[in-house]
Amino acid sequence: MSTHVRHFRSKIPSGVLCSLRLRRTPPLRLASSSLPTRTNAFIAGVDEASLPPPPDASQIRLAVKDNIAAQGLPTTCASRILTGHEVPFTATIVAQIEQLLGAELWGKTNMDEFGMGTHSTNTPYGSVNLLEGRSAGGSSGGSAVAVGLGQATVALGTDTGGSIRMPAAYTNTVGFKPSYGMLSRWGVVPYANSLDTVGLIAKEVAPIQEIIHAVCMDHDPKDPTSLPATVRERCVAERQYYPSSRRTPPDLQSQGLRGLTFGLPIEYNIEELSPRIKEGWMQVADKIKEQGGRVVPVSLPSTKSALSAYYVIAPAEAASNLSKYDGIRYGKRASASASAEDSDTTSSDALNGILYAKTRGEGFGPEVKRRILLGSYTLSSEAVDNYFKQAQRVRRLVRRDFDRVFRLSNPLLENEHGDGSDEQQQFDLSDMDESVPLESKLGPTQIDFLLCPTAPTTPPKLNDVAKQTPFDSYMNDVFTVPASLAGLPAISIPMALPKSEEDPVDFGGVQLIGQFWDDARLLAVAGHVRSKQQ
C-alpha cells in the first residue's frame, strides 16, 4: 500500500467507510435488450448485432458519450433513473462537430453511470470491453471502444478525473482532455462541474487536432465557464501551434523535439506502478531524447494529496448535481405499489423519504450512491471545514505545483509583478524532493510538458475488477487526477510494452500534460511522439 492510499484512507471517517462498503452485485444486462452485445459500447443509435462496415475515408462518424445531449437520441448517463430520458436540445460541442466537419452522429456510447467509475462497469447496459474479458477503462469506455472497433472516426467523452485518458490507455487509442473552459459544457450532464471537461477520443492525434483547431476560439455564451473570447485571444497570443498564433512554430518534422524539455514527475513512481508500464514509460522517454528532447526529473509535491482532494471535491459536486433526480421533475418514479409498503411510516422525516427515497434508492447504482453519501457527508456542516474546504486548498497547491514546473506561465493567474514578465513562482526547496537536481540557484529546470503513464497497469480483467474494493479502483486515477484538478490539457497516447509471459496485453498509455491553454502545442508534440512510436 503506497502512501497515497494510506493518506486517502485516513481522510475517510471510519463510520462512513462501513456504510460505503455496499454489496457488489454482478453486472446486470437489460433483460430484453435489443443489444445482444459483446463489447456493450453503444447504448443507443447502433445495433451491435449487425454492425455496419467501418466508415470510408470521406465519412466522419461521431460517437457521443451518453451524458452529452444530442437531440433525437436519449441521454441517460447510463443510469436507470434517466431511462428513456431525452434532453430537448443538442449540446454545443455536438452541434459544432456536426456543422464544422460534416460529421454524422453515430450513436450514444456506454459509460459508468453519470461518469463515476474507472472501468465502465457501473452501467445497467453491461460492462464495456474491447479485449475479451478486459476492462475498457472508464468512464468513457463506450466512446473508446467505438473508436477501437473502428465504428466511429472520433468519439466525444467527458473527463472529470481521467475518464477519457484512462479508456484511451486501455483500448490503445488516443484520448485528449483539453484545458478547462475550451470546449462548451452546454448540454453535458454535470458530474462535477468544476472538473468536468469535454474531450475527444480517436485512433490518431490528427482528427482530434483538426477539431480543436476548428473550435478552440469559439466562446459559448450558454456555458458560463466557457472562456470568454477576449481571454482566449490573450491566451493564444502567448501560445504556439494555434491556427491564429502569431509566431511561426518550429517544424517538428525537420527539427524533432529539439528545444523542448519533458519532466518525469518523481512522485509518480509509485509502488502500484507495474514494472512493464514503467519500462514502457522509460522507453518513450528514450525516444524523446533520440528526437532531441531533454528529459529531466521534476517534483510535484502535492501529488500525494491530489487523489484525496479529488475524491472529496468530485463527490461533493456530484451529490449536489444529482439532487435533481428525485422523481418529481427528473428521474423515473419508483412504482406506486412499492412506495405504499413504506407509507405507514409516521415520523415526520420519513415524509421526505416516501416521496424521494424509493426513487433514488432504486434508480441509482451502488457507486453513484456511494459518492452521493460521501459528498453529502463532506458538505455537511460538521465536516465541510475539514474535508471540502481543505480539499479546495489542496487543489490550489496542486495547481501551484504545475505552475512552478512549467516554463510557460498560467495565463489565468494575475501577474504579481504587473509587468507581463514571465517570472515564475519560486520553489520552496524544503518541500521539494531531494532527488531533483537544481538547474540554477533559482531552482530546478522548468519544462514544457510532463511525461507520465496514464494508468499504473495494463487493462485489468473484469473478473478482477469485480473483486476490487472501491479504493483499489480509485487508486487507478492517481496519474490522471492532478491535471483535472488544475484544469490542464492532457493527452494519453498508446505506448508499446515489453513482451510478457503472464500478460498478453502489449500496450499501455503514456500521458503528456501541458500548461493551461497550451493545447495546440501539446497536440502537435503528442502527434510527433506518436508517429515516432510506430
Binding site: I68, A69, T75, C77, L82, H85, V87, P88, F89, A91, R185, W186, G187, V188, V189, P190, A192, N193, S194, H219, P221, K222, D223, P224, T225, P228, A229, A316, E317, A319, S320, L322, S323, K324, D326, I328, R329, Y330, R333, S339, S343, T346, S347, S348, D349, A350, L351, N352, I354, L355, Y356, S376, L379, S380, S381, V384, F388
Partner: protein, 630 residues
C-alpha cells in the same frame, strides 16, 4: 424630486445597453407548454398534505419546511374555532399590544430575516421574464426546470434593484460576492438546491434608524438603530397550487425569480419595534424601486428569531432562540413575537428548557406552533456553485446608483413636516401609501399648484396643506363608498399620476377652493365628477364643469349679508339678549345658531359660513345688542 425607475436605469447603465456578451447573450427562451410540465404530475402521498398546506401559502422561498408531524396537524378553521372556544371558556381577553411590550424581569431579543421579491424584468439565472399571474409555466427557461445539461446565466440587470435596496439599508457593498447552493428536497425546487449567497453575500453591515414616528414601542424612546448583518441575492421557488383530491399543480413561472434576503442583528427588544422595522424596510424598498410589491401582495415575507433572558443578571448570555417562519403581515410579526415570548417565559418559569426549533404562526391565533425541532433540522450542505463566476461590483456602479437614488423616505417625511407643516402621521401615510406612488402624486400636485398660484409655498401654506389633506382623505373616500360600483382603485402610477383623478384636475379644484371661488361642498362634488370620468367625457375641464353647471361661488355682498343677518335676528330677542354680557364666556353656540338661521333663510350656495359668522358677530356687537338697550 423624481426618482429614476429601475427599468429606465438599467437601460442606460452598463454602457447604455446591458452587454449581451458572455453569460448574458440572449437565447431564445423555450416556450414550454403547460402540458409539457404536466407530463409528470406531482402526485404526492397523503402524508405530504400538511407539508403542502404550508408551501401553498409560501410565495417566497423559505427553505423547504420539514413537515409538521401529522399528529400535530389541525385544519386552520378548526384551530381557530377551538382557540376561540378555549379563550371564551377561560374568560380570557387578549391584552392590547401597546400595553404588552415588556414582561417585567425578562428581556426579549429579536432578529429578523426579510425576503423581498426584486423588481426585475428577468429571472436571476435565466433570460425568462418575471411575471405575476400570467398563464402558468409560460415563462420558463431550461435552467429554471433544472433540465440536465443546462447551465445558469446570471442576469446582471438584477443587481441594480438589489444594490439600491442595499444602499437604502446603508450597507457596505462587497466588491466580490459569490453564489452558493443550499440543498434540500422539495418539489417546488426542481434542481434540489436553491442558489443563494451564504459564504459571501453582496452587501454587509448596514443599519436602519427607527424613530418614534415609525411606530416603535414607547419603551424604545427616541429611537434606535438596528444593524443589518447582510443582504443576499437568491432564487425564488415554484408555486404550488392545490387541486381537489391529491393533485398538486406546480407553476414554474416563479422558479428563479430574484429575491433579496435581509438579515438583521438581534438588536430588537420590543414586539412593536419589530413590526415597525419590517414596515420601514418595506417603505424603503418601495422608495428605491427595488421591490415588486409589499407584504399585502405577498412580495415580502419575514422570519423572526426570538429569545428571552432574565434581566436580573446582566452577564446572562442570550437565551436559546426559536425561529418563527413565514410571517406575512406587520401585525403577524408583532403578535407572533408576543405569543412566542410569553410561551418561552412560561416554559422557563415552569423550570423547563427552550429548544432551538422552528415554529409557525397562523393569523389570528394566540400561540405559535412547533413545526420541527433541531433534530429535524435540514443540513443545507452549502457549496459554492461551480458553474457561477464571482459577482464583481465596480465602485463606479455603486456610486452611480447612490447618486441616482433620490430622496429616502425619512428625508421626505422630514421635508413634508418641516416645509409643509404636515403632521408626522399624515406625512408617513403619504410616503407609505401605494408603494410610494401617493407621495409622488402629491409632489406633482404641489408643482401644478405652484404654477397656478404663482407665489411661494410659505405664502400659501394652507393651500398645500389642503392638497395633502385631500390627497390623503378625500381621495380615500372615493374608493371607500360601498355603493359605488366602479373600480375600487384610483390607479396611481409610479411616476406620480393618478388615472382616476389626474394631477391637473385636483390642482384646479384645490386652487378654486383655496381662493374661495367655489365652496367646499362644490369642491367635493367636483371631485366625484372627475373620479367618475365626467371630466373630460362630459366637460372638457374642471373649469368647464363649473361654468356649465354654474357652480362658481357667487358670494353675497356685505350689504346682502347684513340684510340677511337682520332677517335672522327677527323675533330672536332672547337669544340676542345673551350677548349683552360676554365678559365671562362668549356664547359661541348661540352665535352659530344665528348663523344657521342665516344659512336657512338665504341661498346657501352663495354663503360662506365663515363670513356669515363674522358679519353676525360684528352686527350683534354694533347693532343688535345696543338696540336691546333702547
Amino acid at each position: 424630486m423624481s426618482r429614476v425607475p429601475t427599468a429606465a436605469l438599467s437601460k442606460y447603465l452598463l454602457q447604455g445597453q446591458v452587454s449581451r456578451q458572455g453569460c448574458l447573450r440572449l437565447t431564445r427562451t423555450p416556450q414550454i407548454s403547460a402540458r409539457a410540465i404536466a407530463l409528470r404530475p406531482a402526485i404526492v402521498s397523503s402524508h405530504s398534505r400538511n407539508l403542502h398546506t404550508q408551501t401553498t401559502e409560501t410565495p417566497l422561498s423559505t427553505p423547504s419546511p420539514a413537515p409538521a408531524a401529522p399528529s400535530n396537524h389541525v385544519p386552520l378553521r378548526k384551530q381557530l374555532k377551538d382557540e376561540a372556544k378555549k379563550a371564551k371558556a377561560a374568560g380570557k381577553k387578549k391584552k392590547k399590544n401597546a400595553t404588552n411590550q415588556v414582561v417585567p424581569g425578562w428581556e426579549l431579543t429579536v432578529g429578523i430575516e426579510i425576503h423581498a421579491q426584486l423588481n426585475t424584468a428577468r429571472k436571476l439565472f435565466s433570460e425568462a421574464t418575471t411575471s405575476f399571474n400570467d398563464e402558468s409555466n409560460s415563462h420558463v427557461a431550461y435552467f429554471d426546470l433544472a433540465t440536465p445539461g443546462s447551465q445558469p446565466h446570471f442576469q446582471k440587470e438584477t443587481l441594480i434593484p438589489a444594490l439600491r435596496a442595499a444602499l437604502a439599508l446603508n450597507c457596505d457593498i462587497q466588491p466580490v460576492s459569490r453564489f452558493d447552493r443550499k440543498h434540500y428536497f422539495h418539489w417546488d425546487q426542481p434542481s434540489g438546491y436553491q442558489i443563494t449567497q451564504y459564504y459571501e453575500p453582496f452587501a454587509r453591515e448596514g443599519r436602519i434608524i427607527l424613530q418614534p414616528r415609525d411606530g416603535i414601542a414607547a419603551e424604545d424612546g427616541d429611537g434606535l438603530a438596528v444593524r443589518i448583518q447582510q443582504v443576499q441575492m437568491e432564487q425564488d421557488t415554484a408555486k404550488t397550487m392545490a387541486q381537489p383530491g391529491e393533485t398538486h399543480w406546480i407553476d414554474f413561472n416563479r422558479t428563479g425569480v430574484p429575491l433579496i434576503e435581509i438579515i438583521t442583528r438581534p438588536d430588537i427588544h420590543h414586539p412593536a419595534t419589530a413590526a415597525a422595522l419590517v414596515r420601514k424596510v418595506q417603505i424603503l424598498l418601495n422608495a428605491v424601486d427595488a421591490c415588486v410589491s409589499g407584504m399585502e401582495a405577498g412580495g415580502l415575507r419575514a422570519d423572526v428569531n426570538v429569545s428571552v433572558r432574565r434581566t436580573d443578571d446582566p452577564n446572562t448570555p442570550l437565551g436559546t432562540r426559536t425561529e418563527i417562519k413565514n410571517l406575512s403581515s406587520f401585525k403577524a410579526v408583532e403578535d407572533a413575537i408576543i405569543a412566542e415570548r410569553d410561551r418561552q417565559i412560561a416554559v422557563l418559569e415552569a423550570g423547563g428548557v427552550i429548544e432551538g426549533e422552528t415554529r409557525g404562526w397562523s393569523i389570528g391565533s394566540t400561540e405559535t406552533r412547533r413545526l420541527r425541532g433541531k433534530e429535524g433540522e435540514v443540513d443545507y450542505r452549502y457549496m459554492p456553485d461551480p458553474d457561477l463566476l464571482p459577482v464583481v461590483i465596480g465602485d463606479d456602479l455603486v456610486s452611480h446608483l447612490r447618486n441616482s437614488m433620490g430622496q429616502l423616505p425619512d428625508a421626505e417625511v422630514d421635508e413634508l413636516t418641516e416645509v409643509f407643516g404636515l403632521t408626522a402621521k399624515d406625512a408617513l401615510s403619504l410616503v407609505a401609501l401605494d408603494s410610494g406612488a401617493r407621495v409622488e402624486y402629491f409632489w406633482r400636485v404641489v408643482e401644478s399648484l405652484q404654477s397656478k398660484l404663482d407665489s411661494s409655498i410659505a405664502e400659501n401654506l394652507a393651500c398645500f396643506q389642503m392638497a395633502a389633506n385631500w390627497i390623503l382623505h378625500e381621495l380615500g373616500r372615493l374608493t371607500s363608498n360601498p355603493h359605488d360600483g366602479s373600480a375600487q382603485d384610483l390607479g396611481f402610477t409610479s411616476d406620480g399620476e393618478c388615472r382616476r383623478v389626474p394631477v391637473d384636475s385636483l390642482a384646479d379644484i384645490i386652487v378654486f377652493l383655496y381662493q374661495h371661488k367655489i365652496t367646499t361642498k362644490v369642491a367635493k362634488e367636483l371631485l366625484w365628477v372627475v373620479y367618475r370620468g365626467n371630466v373630460p367625457e362630459q366637460y372638457s375641464s374642471v373649469t368647464d364643469a363649473i361654468e356649465t353647471e354654474n357652480m362658481w361661488f357667487n358670494e353675497l355682498s356685505e350689504q346682502e349679508y347684513a340684510e340677511l343677518a337682520d332677517q335672522a335676528v327677527e323675533d330672536q330677542e332672547d337669544i340676542v339678549g345673551q350677548f349683552v354680557d360676554t365678559s365671562r364666556q362668549y356664547p359661541q353656540g348661540k352665535l352659530m345658531f344665528l348663523v344657521g338661521r342665516m344659512m336657512r333663510l338665504g341661498s346657501e350656495e352663495r354663503i360662506d359660513p365663515k363670513n356669515a359668522e363674522s358679519v353676525m358677530r360684528r352686527l350683534l356687537e354694533e347693532k343688535y345688542v345696543p338696540a336691546l338697550g333702547r
